[in-house]
């Protein structure tokens, strides 16, 4: 997959994650009030207590003030929408637009002591890599293009591999009980799926083993021919679709899928 095509797809899916994630945060803006779950007052206290330098003690609490955070969320939403519009018009987005999304994302992350997840972290690394790669295209510097896309691909490869290897250390995953236990929770479960997995112990075990096997074997994707790598990633896409539907983790789908074209580009370059 050519660099420009890969970058278009990376940016499009990451932009969807940014737009949806920012719009969701806007609906939760009351939570940034002093008695809210994302209380700016508590976050400011936390940042001030944990800051070591004088600059961090001054800047930290200032950056979590509700108007600053609200502005960052709105900028992130609008910049994400502008990125989608540019890609739809087949225009090459400015690296500054991506850098703006990256900066706004950093401000939003800084305002949240709790509540961030791996999808947020993936969006951050994707925009860091995409900004560098987009700058590389603009400046005609191939090393930056490959470096940016390679960074995204490497982080995604590491994410799946670490998740898989860490699961091997867990007794519930090794016994094949983990997926059934997860869907048994109200936080990440769904009653019909839970019931189905309680009816079929073999299906429950298979679900756990498939997840672990897929994640542990993930680095192989970099060695496969591009068509086979695409097929492997297609399975990953289905996995994330299932996770979104069953576990309600909607942003994981866009955040992790955004890294797939970068992986295909790296596999194609090899």
């Amino acid at each position: 997959m050519e660099a420009a095509t890969a970058l278009d797809l990376v940016e499009a899916m990451a932009a969807v994650a940014v737009v949806v994630g920012s719009a969701e945060l806007l609906t939760l803006r009351s939570e940034f009030a002093s008695d809210g779950l994302l209380s700016a007052e508590i976050t400011a206290r936390f940042r001030a207590t944990n800051a070591r330098s004088r600059l961090a003690r001054r800047l930290g609490p200032a950056l979590v003030r509700p108007p600053v955070v609200a502005a960052a969320v709105v900028v992130r939403l609008l910049a994400g929408a502008a990125l989608l519009a540019a890609l739809a018009a087949r225009a090459r987005p400015s690296p500054w637009l991506l850098a703006l999304i990256l900066a706004a994302t950093l401000v939003v992350h800084h305002a949240m002591v709790f509540g961030l997840n791996a999808a947020d972290q993936m969006v951050l690394v994707v925009f860091a890599g995409a900004t560098v790669a987009e700058a590389g295209l603009a400046l005609d510097r191939d090393a930056l293009v490959l470096g940016g896309l390679g960074f995204v691909a490497a982080q995604a490869g590491l994410a799946y591999f670490v998740a898989g290897v860490a699961k091997l250390a867990g007794p519930a995953w090794r016994a094949g009980d983990a997926v059934r236990a997860i869907v048994d929770t109200t936080a990440f479960g769904l009653a019909p799926v839970s019931d189905a997995l309680h009816r079929s112990a073999s299906a429950a075990r298979a679900a756990s083993f498939v997840v672990v096997a897929y994640e542990v074997a993930f680095p192989v994707v970099f060695l496969l021919p591009v068509e086979a790598a695409a097929a492997y990633l297609g399975v990953g896409l289905l996995l994330h679709l299932g996770i979104a539907a069953v576990m309600g983790l909607n942003l994981f789908l866009w955040a992790f899928a955004a890294a797939y074209p970068a992986i295909l580009h790296v596999a194609w370059r090899w």
Partner: protein, 169 residues
């Protein structure tokens, strides 16, 4: 030169991310990277998957000293088809479960620690105190953090933390 610096930064970022997965605190990672959650933890649902839910309950004490029945505070919405694309309450539920998990961790590391002085306690307490009254308006409110496993008839619940009575605002 600038190109090499940018690529070096990305390489360093990836390097400290790898170290972060090993459970070591990377000395080279600046504190601000943690402050903006730029050091990913890729150990998703591992080694031990989430097998239990945290539940939050509260009750009010009235001016005459009587105590109301307990009310269950739902942390998560019932799953709907559109949550596949749009699920904002997932974020607030994550904040609460992160806080409740933090109680466990803090208590495990230091059983003598006064949890009321911690950030997660402050977040949960403020959230509980802004909830509507249970019956008549009381003067104080107490909350309970419980841990539940299983769904429907298979559900088992155990109390993790009982707060003192907090004066209602």
């Amino acid at each position: 030169m600038a190109e090499a610096m940018v690529l070096g930064l990305l390489g360093a970022w990836f390097g400290v991310t790898v170290l972060n997965q090993l459970g070591r605190r990377p000395l080279a990672a600046p504190r601000w990277m943690r402050a903006v959650s730029a050091l990913p933890n890729w150990r998703l649902f591992a080694p031990n998957p989430v097998v239990s839910d945290h539940e939050l309950l509260y009750r009010d004490r009235l001016a005459d000293g009587t105590v109301t029945p307990v009310r269950h505070l739902a942390l998560r919405q019932r799953r709907r088809p559109w949550h596949l694309l749009w699920n904002p309450r997932n974020r607030t539920a994550k904040v609460l479960t992160d806080c409740l998990k933090a109680f466990h961790e803090l208590h495990r590391h230091d059983p003598d620690l006064d949890l009321r002085a911690t950030i997660p306690y402050a977040i949960v307490a403020r959230h509980v105190l802004r909830q509507p009254p249970v019956g008549p308006v009381g003067t104080h409110r107490q909350f309970v953090v419980a841990r539940a496993e299983g769904l429907g008839a298979r559900r088992l619940v155990a109390v993790v933390l009982t707060s003192e009575y907090h004066r209602l605002p």
